[in-house]
Structures are given as structure tokens and as C-alpha cells.
């Protein structure tokens, strides 16, 4: 044995063990997030449980099994143990999501397995997704219209009628929303532009009586339009309010759920595998395309996806030229002198400076100094309200561009160094100038490397949160940075970001338990994007290496 130790084998195996640990950590992490994130979309069965209470009575519960854990019996109180006749050392308990937030103090509750008297999953149990107060669980008894029952659950075509009505209500809501976010918000925007216009004229001392009258006329016109749209909006809302669902909840009481709050009705207990799969993809679709609701704890993440993508694109536009130029300088032009050495150290340090420092720098320099000056020069009419002198998507993009600059430089330089010098020499000997060689031969050949750098930069930027918290990200942006109002791109606006969304929903939300699956789902989305981007970059790089290996020979 001692001899075996002397060969060093155990130590080799130990080092091998640490590789295993690292692999398990990476793969396990991704798998866990994937599993937790995706299982959120899979429709889970709705249980109707009868549970014993300490006071001897039984109570009914309707909801999804959300989580389970086993706890040592010693941590329970004596009455419960006696009640459940618990003899084993560990007991299982379930976390039930019972929804119906307006009727219960907490929409989650723990249930001990041994106290469950009866547990069934009736096919007619419904989950009603609502715009407010979260899900509602219960058995739908009837549909009413202005208080009159128009269909009962015993009717043959009850579900058909119900789905039709729900669809109609959702349709009306959508129309109202479109009106509000489209025409009405456009008018509001124009009205605020008119105010700014007035202020601008005033500052330029050009506010003549004609101008005032003109502005007033425009304003009145807009307000008249507004009236019309507002009436339409009220009409739509009124229509949507017509129908209601009559639902029997876990207490056995019949409760009215107004249809205009209903987003969707499902019967998970009544779904087959294919129906469930369909529902699963439908839910994923909703998740990526809808706006968040209820302080971000429900609904989708579309604005966050949009904000992330928009910011990252803007950043790419800024970082690519600078990164490529710097790399070309370092590889093609720089002499072996101390300046070059300093620049290399600068690149390494830019890569190593903590991202929060960039955030601080961006806030102080770009937002307050540059942005503040821009406001003074170009937007004096809006002062003291800042236009660019406040955190926004442009400054986020610029800050992240500096942060990701080294990534692009390093990757591009690596690509340049892989191009055989024979190509350069060939071009130069045929009479091309250095610039022509670089522009026509080198850069096109290095473009995959530039792409790699850019992809890596995008992946880095998409996952970075700390600096964005200072320079422009918000938990809920009322307007996207791109909309139908001139000039269409609003670079001064604040935006939502997937990474910050995770932080915000996971740590700042009032109902952490309800939000948790959403955080996992968002994390999974973000990881998918970032790992995908990285794999693409690695693929491109490997491909590139192969290509030039053949060229060199």
C-alpha cells in the first residue's frame, strides 16, 4: 500500500476527482436550471385534498403540489404528531400552491403527508389564469352574463361556450390594450412634445402669439382625438366586463371571477400527454412574448428580452470598429516598444477591472458629465428634467462597449496572428499598400475571428448586471426603447434586462415563493442564449483554426 502511495497514483486520481467535481458542477447547474425552469411550463395536476386539522375537523384544499421535503419528526409539534400517528423519524410534507390570493392570507401552504385523508385529481378542476391576484383554482360551475346564468357545467357544450367567452374577453382586452399602448400613448407622446416645443420657443425668445395659437390649436386637435379613443377604450372595457365565471373554490363557496380578468382557463387533470405538450409549448411562447404582470412575478419577460437584445446590438455597433482597429494596430502596425507594451497592459487591465467599476465610471462620466452636457446643449427645453443626463440604454451600451472591448481585441488579434504572413508578403509584393493589404486581404480573412470576438462580447454583455444597475436598467420600463413615435429609437429611455430581471424578481419581489419558478425560467432562457452564443464562438474559432492549418502547410 505504501508503495502504491509512493507511485503518486492516489494524487493523480485526486486531481482527476477535481475535474469530475468541476464537470458535475457545470453540467449539474445547467441541468438543474433547465429542469426547474422548464418544469414550470408543464401543466401539473390539480389536487383536491382533504386534510385533518388540529382542532379535529377536516379542511379541503385545492391546488398544485409545488415542492416537497422531508423533515425530522422532532421539529413538528406534539399535537400534530399525535394527530397523524407519526412513528417514523422523518415525515414528508408538501408545499401546495393554492392560489385564490384574494381569499387566503398566503397562496402557499404546507401539508403533512400523514394528515391527508383523501387526495384526488378530479377532471373538472380548472386553473384560471388572471391578470390580477394570480391563479384561481376551483371547479367552474356556470357562466353568467350581467348576473344571469347562461350556461351550467352540466350542459353538454359547456366548455365550448366557456372557451368562446374567454376568447372573446381576451380579444376585447387585447384590443383595449392595443388602443392604449398604440394610439393613446402616441397622442400622449405628441402632447408632451408640444410642451417641449413651447418651452424651446420660449428659450429662443421666439414664442410669438402666432406660435402660441398654433400650439394651442394642435393641442386641442390632439385632445379631441384623445376623447374619441378614450370613448372607444371605455366601450371595449365595458363589453369585456359583461361576462363572469362562477367558480366553486376550496371552501365550497361559489365565487364570481369576472371574465375581463381571465387570461386563460385550463383543465390540467383532463389533459392527455399531447395536450400537455401543446400546453407546455404554448406557455413557453407566452413567456417569451408577453409583458410581465403583478410586479414581475407573473406573465412573460418580453420587454426584458427586447431590452437585452436592443442594448447588446447597440453595444456591438460601438465595440466592433474600436476593437478591430485596436487589434489591427497591435498586430499589424505596433512596433516592439514601450507604448505597445503599455497598450497590452491596458488591454489586460481593462479585461480585469471589475464590472462594477465600469458602472461607476459610466454613471459619473457618461451619464452625469457627457449626458449632462448634451442636455445643456441640445435639450435645454426639457430641463430640469434630464434627457440624456440620466441613466438610459445608450449609456448602458457605451459602458458595456468599454467593458467588452478587450474581448473583441484579444479574439481579433488571435485571428490576425493565425493568418500566415506569406499572404501579407504576397499582397505587398504585388504592389498593394499596407492599408490595402489589410483592408482587402487581412480583414476579410480575419472576419470569422472578429465574429467570434463579437459573439463572446455579446455573451458577456448579455450576462452582465452590476454595471447596468447603475447606468440604465430598471425593474419595469413603461415604454420600450423602440416604438412608433418619431424618431422611433429612444436611446435616452431606460430598459429592462434579463439578468437584472432575475435579480429583481428573485430578491426584491414581494412574493418570492410565487416568483421562484419564473426566476428559474428566466435564468434558463439567459443561460441558453449565453451558452449558445459561446458554443457558436467556440465552433467558429475551431473551424477557423482548421482552415488556416491547411493554409500554412
Amino acid at each position: 500500500m505504501k508503495k502504491w502511495f509512493n507511485t503518486g497514483k492516489p494524487w493523480i486520481w485526486l486531481t482527476a476527482g477535481s475535474v469530475s467535481v468541476s464537470l458535475i458542477a457545470v453540467i449539474g447547474l445547467v441541468l438543474m436550471i433547465g429542469w426547474r425552469g422548464l418544469s414550470f411550463f408543464w401543466p401539473s395536476a390539480i389536487h383536491q385534498m382533504t386534510v385533518q386539522q388540529v382542532n379535529g375537523e377536516t379542511a379541503e384544499l385545492i391546488g398544485e403540489v409545488y415542492d416537497s421535503e422531508s423533515v425530522p419528526t422532532t421539529r413538528l409539534n406534539a399535537e400534530t404528531i399525535k394527530l397523524g400517528n407519526i412513528e417514523s423519524e422523518m415525515v414528508t410534507r408538501y408545499l401546495m400552491k393554492i392560489g385564490n390570493r384574494e381569499y387566503v392570507p398566503l397562496d402557499f401552504t404546507w401539508v403533512l403527508e400523514s394528515l391527508i385523508v383523501e387526495d384526488k385529481t378530479p377532471a373538472d378542476m380548472a386553473v384560471i389564469e388572471r391578470t390580477k391576484d394570480g391563479n384561481f383554482y376551483g371547479k367552474i360551475m356556470a357562466i353568467t352574463e350581467k348576473g344571469e346564468v347562461i350556461a351550467r357545467h352540466t350542459d353538454d357544450n359547456f366548455r365550448q361556450v366557456m372557451f368562446d367567452r374567454v376568447e372573446r374577453a381576451v380579444e376585447l382586452n387585447d384590443q383595449a390594450m392595443d388602443l392604449q399602448e398604440g394610439e393613446i400613448s402616441a397622442i400622449n407622446y405628441q402632447l408632451s412634445q408640444l410642451n417641449l416645443e413651447r418651452r424651446r420657443l420660449e428659450l429662443e425668445n421666439a414664442l410669438t402669439d402666432e406660435a402660441v395659437a398654433d400650439l394651442q390649436r394642435q393641442r386641442e386637435q390632439l385632445q379631441a382625438e384623445y376623447q374619441v379613443y378614450e370613448e372607444q377604450l371605455f366601450e371595449l372595457r365595458e363589453k369585456a366586463k359583461k361576462n363572469s365565471l362562477l367558480v366553486r373554490d376550496f371552501r365550497g363557496e361559489e365565487v364570481t371571477v369576472p371574465m375581463y380578468r381571465v387570461l386563460d382557463v385550463n383543465f390540467p387533470n383532463d389533459m392527455g400527454f399531447f395536450a400537455k405538450t401543446g400546453h407546455f409549448f404554448q406557455q413557453i411562447g407566452k413567456f417569451v412574448s408577453e409583458d410581465p404582470r403583478e410586479a414581475n412575478t407573473e406573465g412573460g419577460v418580453f420587454p426584458a428580452i427586447f431590452g437585452t437584445v436592443f442594448m447588446v446590438l447597440l453595444m456591438s455597433v460601438i465595440v466592433t470598429p474600436f476593437g478591430v482597429i485596436a487589434a489591427v494596430y497591435l498586430h499589424e502596425y505596433a512596433g516592439k516598444n514601450s507604448v505597445t507594451k503599455l497598450i497590452r497592459i491596458a488591454v489586460i487591465n481593462l479585461a480585469g477591472v471589475p464590472s462594477i467599476v465600469y458602472g461607476v465610471f459610466g454613471l459619473g462620466f457618461f451619464v452625469y458629465m457627457v449626458g449632462g452636457s448634451l442636455d445643456q446643449i441640445f435639450y435645454p427645453e426639457a430641463l430640469p428634467n434630464p434627457t440624456f443626463g440620466t441613466p438610459g440604454v445608450l449609456w448602458s451600451a457605451v459602458t458595456l462597449a468599454i467593458l467588452t472591448l478587450p474581448v473583441v481585441i484579444v479574439s481579433t488579434e488571435e485571428g490576425l496572428s493565425r493568418i500566415p504572413s506569406s499572404l501579407r508578403e504576397g499582397s505587398l509584393s504585388l504592389g498593394a499598400t499596407k492599408w490595402e493589404t489589410i483592408w482587402r486581404i487581412i480583414i476579410p480573412m480575419a472576419s470569422p475571428a472578429i465574429m467570434t470576438g463579437l459573439i463572446l462580447a455579446v455573451a458577456r454583455a448579455a450576462g452582465e448586471v452590476a454595471p447596468l444597475m447603475l447606468v440604465g436598467v430598471v425593474k419595469a420600463a413603461p415604454m420600450l426603447p423602440v416604438d412608433g413615435n418619431f424618431p422611433y429609437f429612444h436611446l435616452d429611455r431606460k430598459f429592462m434586462h434579463l439578468g437584472f430581471h432575475i435579480y429583481d424578481v428573485g430578491f426584491q419581489s414581494p412574493n418570492v415563493e410565487a416568483a421562484r419558478p419564473l426566476v428559474y425560467a428566466t435564468s434558463f432562457l439567459l443561460i441558453t442564449v449565453i451558452v449558445g452564443l459561446n458554443l457558436t464562438a467556440i465552433g467558429v474559432r475551431n473551424h477557423l483554426r482548421e482552415k488556416y492549418r491547411s493554409l500554412e502547410q
Partner: protein, 755 residues
């Protein structure tokens, strides 16, 4: 032909010009990277720098006022447009401080005479915050006056068109008790000295009569619920002391009266209903500091300042001790020559002293900062007063009045306040404290960067403790033992880990790992012991297997073979965790830690941060160290093996030694990353700025501190600049680590290329 060549020539010239332009353009672009780094460095410095500047005084205006009798006090309002002075003959005069419209500085705007039948015998004032003044009379009564300023924006024909309304400030006078004199002495003796404070409706007077008798008169205000009228009920107390009383001071909470008698200060407690009891007799340490000559109250009213005939000013405040809270000597300031008068600021702990030799000094107590010393004016200064925003100084000299612009934005910040122990008011001893915001206006921000720097180091240390062994061991194995086919897949996988957003790691650490670590604490500890053991046992078992099977899986694939072993041991540890807990720790490890071992346990603690941040750092270390080991020239290791060394001997004696600079640089890079990491610490700790190495408690790091407090700090405030300083410290930290790492790596590269 000729024209063609000319054309060609000009085309060539164009190409050359382009080439040159490109050369300069690209060079400029390359140098821009350096500029960017320097810009960050200098911009951070630029924002930080003002906090270390000393005070700058600039004369704005001067004017004269008629001298009719002694000036008791001067003051001014918030916008520094109007000043006022109290004269010893009972006159209160408001005068303009600026030239505005037809008004000139020094024009008297309003005069109010405070008069009762009796003769004025004394004058006193509350703290600047309350800005109330009191005249004491020979019949034992007192009148309390408050200069008030009404700010209005009147709309006139001229302003209607522009939407810009001029601000107009009008002075007026308000009296307490509707101007009726308040009785301080029931026996109607003349008040020789008078001190006064109010907490809104209630009032506390302290007065000296017959040289050595201290009177404490407490007015309790009671509001009649029906009529809303306030009725005042006085309570009189007379305390005879042994000798003449030199100074009296009343605290604004109306709970204390301090009376100085030579080198002794009597401290009296006043109860809510006005009962007075002597608490302690505080000696003024005259042997050390010199004889006491005066006593003043500092803003915030927790500290008193004593002036001494040696030119020292000493600060005293109450410190909790064995016998309750007692006044204690804290620190002293050197004014150069004996101080004749002290003025304090409204909210900050800055005070202005006037010395016998005509010098004015500006000090800040907690920062122990000597902000200014000198003679701002040729004339002898008789009195000074700052405005509530501490932007202007009104100075009365023997030649008239002067307004000075005071540039004193950050008196509370000094090198010692940031990096050394500071004794804050109310604290039992000097300490490192970070507490940037508080409830009240006169809250004193505590800006010690020590606890958060400590937190940064603590977090980084625990992360490195976790990441260095795993990262380096994995790197060594991957580079040296692993078979190429496995390596091709392992290396990118571990490197992908680096790309994982830290916000996800932080969220998992905070919401998944932290509760798990709390519930399965013994499991976590046993994983650390069991997994390496199991690996060695597996290796031993493997070596006993027949060669035929062993050859199928070479050492290069051992890590794949070990995955199920590690997984199984991990699962086993967690399964056993409750049983271990039951047997060893009475069923609750957490309670056992707290009760039996006295170790504080937070759910979001350093263990969690160490693991989560360790995972963020492992890929950095792995990647660089792996490159270093892999690029050790093969002929070195082959030579060693050929000479009969085992692979392990070759590794430790040849390969690692050669690659050690690269490994060092990997660790440095990892450290740099751990120091600056924000989201993980932000989400996985409680962010409490404590100084304790306990692994079961959290910390607050520089980066998390910036992320938490930056959005709330006011631009240009001390807090804002201190946060920039924190960023600057981080910048320097990482700059240092990265530059060392890069230098070492460059050297290594040169070494390899020569081999």
C-alpha cells in the same frame, strides 16, 4: 501615354495618402485603448479628489452697519440673502447681505425692539438648528424671539410672460408665548446668565442668579384638545453651587443642563416633568489641556466642546460605561492661541473658533480634521456665523461685516476617518464603522472603508480557499494526464462555466444553496471529507483490478470514471446529513452552533459565498493554469520520464516548477476576479458590514456596497465621492493583481520560447 502615367501617378499618390491616413487612424485607435484606461483612472480620481481638499474662503461682499451697542449674535437665512443681528439693547435688525434691485448690502430691512419694563441683563441662544434667541431681564423674566423668513414667489406683470418667478424673501419676527415674558426666576432676581433650548413647544431655561445659584426652569406645553390652545406649565428648581458659575448649556432634547464652574462641569439630568437631579461632576482635565475657559454645544447636541487657555479645544460626549452613560474626554484640537468664541454649524460636526491672536480656525470633530487656520480679513473678527447650508460665512469684525463664500463640501471625510478607528458620538469606543445614511438631519454619516474592504478580502479569501485547490488540480490533470479526446470536451465545458452570468450563480447561491446549506450543514462538511476519501479508495480498488480491465480505461479517463463516485458520495452525504445531525448535534446543527459553540449563524453566509464565487473563479484559474502547464515543453517531461521518474514525480519536480509562474498568474487573475465580483456577494450575503472571519456570517464587499448605495447617493455629496473612492480602491486592487499576473506571464512566454 504621358497623361496616363500622370493619372497613374496621381492615383498612386492617392493610395499613398490613404495608406498614411490609415496608419495614423489605426494608431490613434490603438492608443485609444490606453486612453480609455487612463480616462477611467483619472476620472475616478477627479471625482474622489475634492473630499481631501481643505477649506477655501472667498470674500463675496462687505458692508458696514451703524454701531449703536454691543452685538450679541449674528445670523443669516438659508439663501444667504438676509442677515440679522441681536444687539445688547434689545434690538433685532434684519439687513440685506446682497445687492439686489435697489437694495444694497447693509441696508436695514426691519428692526424689532424687544422690550419689557425691566432692564436687559443677559442674552442666550438655542442651537443654530432651532435658531431661537432669548433675552433675560432684571426681573427674572425672559423673552424668546425667533427670526423667521417667508419665501414667496409673487407673480407680477413682468414675470407672467416668462413663467420664471423671482423668489422674494421677507423677514419677520416670531415670539414664544405671544411675546409675553416667561418667568424664569420666581423670586424675580436679575438673570446674570441665560441658556435656552426648545423641542417645539416645551422649553428649558437655565439661568444664573447671584453668581452661584443655578436656576432650571422647565416649561411643559400641553395642548388643549378642544381649543387647540397651548398652555405652559412651569417647574422651577434652584440649585446653589459652591462658587460662581461661568457657563451654562442646555441640550435641545431638554433632558440635560450643564454648568461649568472653572475646571468642573456639573451635569444635571432633567426628567420629563422637570425634576432636576445632579448626575455627575466632570473634571475638565486641566492639567493636561489647560484651564477651561468656555463651554459650547456641538450640532447634533451629543458633544460638548470645552475651550482651554492653552489654545486647545476638547470634545466630550457621553459614553456607555459601567455606571451608565458618562461624559468622557474624546479628543482635542489645537487652535494655536486661546479660543475666545466657538460657532457650530447647523447640521454637520464642523465648528469655527476665534482665537485671541485673531486667527480663525475651522475644525471637524469626528474627522479630526484641521480644515482652516488663518486670518480671512485684516480686521479683528468679533463674531462669525454660517448659513444653514454652510455655504456662506457672515463675519463681524471691528471694521464692519463681511460675507465669505465657504468651500467646505466634505469636512467629514479625511484619511483618518476612512482608514482608522474613529470614536463616533454615542459609541463606547473607537471603531471602524460604515453607516452611510440615517434618519435625521443631524445624523452623522460613518464612512470607514475598513469593514467593507475587510469584507471584500474575506469573500475573496473563502472563494479562493475553495477555488484554488479544485481549479489548479483540475488544470494540472487536464493538461498533463488527461487523454486528448476527453480534454477536447472537458476544456470548453469548464470554460463555458466562466461565461455563466454571475447573476444566475448569485441567485442560485441565495435562493437555493443558502437554504440547502442551512438544512444540510453536516452534509456539506462531510462532502469535503468523504469525496476525497472515496476518490482514493476508488483509485486503490482500481489498482487491484486485473490489468486487462484497467487497460481499457487509462488514467487519462479517470475523471469520467470518478463522476459517478463523486455523485454517489454527494448523495450519500446529504442522505446521511439528518442522521448525523440527529446523533451529533441533537437534531439541529444550527442551534448547536449558536448555543453550544457560540458561533453566530446567518443563512446567507461566507460558506455559501465561498462556494458560489469559487465556481465563478474556478474557470479563470483553470483556464490560465491549464495553458501554462500544457505549454511546458514536452522534451522536459519526456526527459524526466526517461530517467525513470514516475509521472507524479515528473509533474511535481519538473512540470509544475517550470509552469509555476503561470500558475501564480492564474491565481492572481482569479483573485482579481473574486475581489471585484458583485452580483454573487450582493445576492448571497446579508450585506452587513461586520468585521469577523466567521465562515457562518456574511460580509459587505466594496463592490456590493457600491451596487447597493450608488443609486441612492446624491451626486456630488461626500457619500457619492466615497463610493467613487471605493471603486477607485477596487480599480487599484485589480490593476495591481492583473499587472503582476501579466508580467509574470510575459516572462514565462519568453522563457518557453527560448527552450
Amino acid at each position: 501615354m504621358a497623361s496616363q502615367s500622370a493619372e497613374q501617378l496621381s492615383a498612386n499618390r492617392m493610395r499613398l495618402v490613404k495608406d498614411h491616413a490609415a496608419r495614423y487612424g489605426v494608431t490613434a485607435g490603438g492608443i485609444m485603448v490606453l486612453v480609455a484606461l487612463l480616462l477611467i483612472f483619472f476620472y475616478l480620481l477627479y471625482v474622489v479628489q475634492p473630499i481631501f481638499e481643505s477649506v477655501d474662503l472667498k470674500k463675496v461682499n462687505s458692508f458696514e452697519l451703524p454701531e449703536q451697542s454691543n452685538v450679541e449674535a449674528v445670523g443669516m437665512e438659508e439663501q444667504a440673502e438676509i442677515g440679522y443681528r441681536f444687539l445688547s439693547d434689545g434690538e433685532l435688525q434684519f439687513f440685506s447681505l446682497i445687492d439686489k434691485d435697489e437694495r444694497k448690502a447693509g441696508d436695514i430691512l426691519l428692526t424689532e425692539t424687544i422690550k419689557t419694563g425691566a432692564e436687559i441683563t443677559s442674552f442666550g441662544s438655542s442651537l443654530p438648528v432651532n435658531s431661537q434667541y432669548v433675552y433675560g431681564f432684571s426681573d427674572g423674566s425672559a423673552v424668546v424671539v425667533q427670526p423667521k423668513f417667508l419665501v414667496s414667489f409673487p407673480e407680477t406683470a413682468a414675470t407672467a410672460k416668462t413663467d420664471r418667478v423671482e423668489r422674494v424673501i421677507t423677514p419677520r419676527v416670531e415670539y414664544k408665548n405671544q411675546g409675553e415674558p416667561l418667568t424664569v426666576d420666581e423670586q424675580q432676581r436679575p438673570l446674570q446668565r441665560l441658556a435656552y433650548e426648545t423641542d417645539g413647544d416645551g422649553m428649558l431655561f437655565a439661568a444664573v442668579v447671584e453668581q452661584n445659584k443655578l436656576l432650571v426652569t422647565h416649561y411643559v406645553a400641553e395642548e388643549n384638545f378642544m381649543t387647540g390652545e397651548v398652555s405652559l406649565t412651569p417647574k422651577y428648581t434652584e440649585i446653589p453651587l459652591n462658587s460662581a458659575i461661568d457657563d451654562i448649556v442646555v441640550t435641545p432634547d431638554l433632558r440635560q443642563v450643564l454648568a461649568r464652574r472653572g475646571n468642573r462641569v456639573h451635569v444635571f439630568d432633567v426628567s420629563i416633568n422637570g425634576e432636576v437631579s445632579e448626575r455627575e461632576l466632570m473634571p475638565a482635565r486641566s492639567r493636561e489641556l489647560g484651564n477651561a475657559t468656555g463651554m459650547y454645544l456641538l450640532a447634533g447636541a451629543s458633544s460638548i466642546l470645552l475651550t482651554h487657555d492653552t489654545g486647545k479645544v476638547s470634545q466630550w460626549f457621553e459614553v456607555p460605561g459601567d455606571e451608565g452613560r458618562q461624559y468622557q474626554y474624546i479628543r482635542s484640537f489645537e487652535a494655536g492661541s486661546p479660543v475666545t468664541n466657538i460657532e457650530v454649524e447647523y447640521y454637520r460636526r464642523t465648528f469655527y473658533t476665534l482665537s485671541e491672536n485673531g486667527d480663525m480656525n475651522i475644525f471637524h470633530t469626528t474627522a479630526e480634521a484641521d480644515l482652516y487656520r488663518g486670518k480671512p480679513s485684516e480686521a479683528t473678527i468679533e463674531a462669525v456665523m454660517v448659513d444653514p447650508r454652510a455655504n456662506y460665512l457672515l463675519m463681524k469684525t471691528d471694521q464692519g461685516y463681511g460675507i465669505y463664500d465657504v468651500d467646505n463640501e466634505h469636512p467629514e471625510v479625511s484619511w483618518s476617518a476612512i482608514w482608522q478607528e474613529v470614536w463616533y458620538e454615542g459609541y463606547p469606543e473607537p471603531d471602524y464603522t460604515w453607516q452611510s445614511t440615517g434618519g435625521s438631519d443631524d445624523f452623522e454619516s460613518k464612512f470607514s472603508l475598513v469593514p467593507i474592504s475587510f469584507g471584500t478580502i474575506k469573500a475573496a479569501a473563502y472563494a479562493m480557499l475553495f477555488a484554488v485547490p479544485i481549479g489548479l488540480a483540475a488544470a494540472v490533470y487536464t493538461a498533463y494526464f488527461m487523454s486528448p479526446s476527453v480534454r477536447k470536451f472537458v476544456k470548453p465545458t469548464v470554460e463555458i462555466m466562466e461565461a455563466l452570468p454571475t447573476v444566475i450563480l448569485g441567485f442560485l447561491a441565495g435562493l437555493w444553496l443558502a437554504p440547502l446549506a442551512e438544512a444540510y450543514l453536516p452534509g456539506f462538511i462531510s462532502v469535503i471529507i468523504l469525496v476525497p476519501l472515496a476518490v482514493i479508495v476508488t483509485a486503490a480498488l482500481w489498482s487491484t483490478l486485473p490489468t486487462r480491465i484497467r487497460n481499457k480505461v487509462s488514467d487519462g479517463r479517470a475523471s469520467l470514471l470518478l463522476i459517478p463516485v463523486v455523485l454517489f458520495m454527494g448523495w450519500l452525504s446529504f442522505e446521511l446529513s439528518p442522521w448525523v445531525e440527529q446523533i451529533l448535534f441533537d437534531g439541529d446543527a444550527r442551534r448547536y452552533l449558536t448555543n453550544e459553540l457560540g458561533v453566530t449563524f446567518d443563512q446567507r453566509n461566507s460558506l455559501v459565498v465561498g462556494i458560489a464565487m469559487g465556481f465563478a473563479v474556478i474557470p479563470t484559474i483553470f483556464s490560465i493554469a491549464e495553458d501554462a502547464v500544457f505549454s511546458v515543453p514536452k522534451h522536459l517531461s519526456n526527459g524526466s520520464l526517461a530517467l525513470g521518474a514516475t509521472p507524479w514525480q515528473t509533474l511535481t519536480k519538473v512540470v509544475l516548477l517550470t509552469a509555476s509562474p503561470g500558475i501564480f498568474s492564474a491565481v492572481m487573475m482569479g483573485l482579481g476576479r473574486a475581489v471585484g465580483e458583485t452580483m454573487i456577494v450582493l445576492m448571497a450575503t446579508g450585506n452587513t458590514p461586520i468585521m469577523d472571519w466567521n465562515i457562518f456570517e456574511g460580509m459587505r464587499t466594496l463592490s456590493a456596497n457600491i451596487a447597493v448605495e450608488m443609486p441612492e447617493s446624491e451626486v456630488g455629496s461626500s457619500h457619492y465621492r466615497i463610493l467613487f473612492l471605493a471603486a477607485f480602491v477596487l480599480f487599484i486592487f485589480t490593476f495591481f493583481f492583473n499587472t503582476i499576473a501579466e508580467f509574470v506571464r510575459q516572462r514565462l512566454r519568453d522563457k518557453y520560447s527560448s527552450m
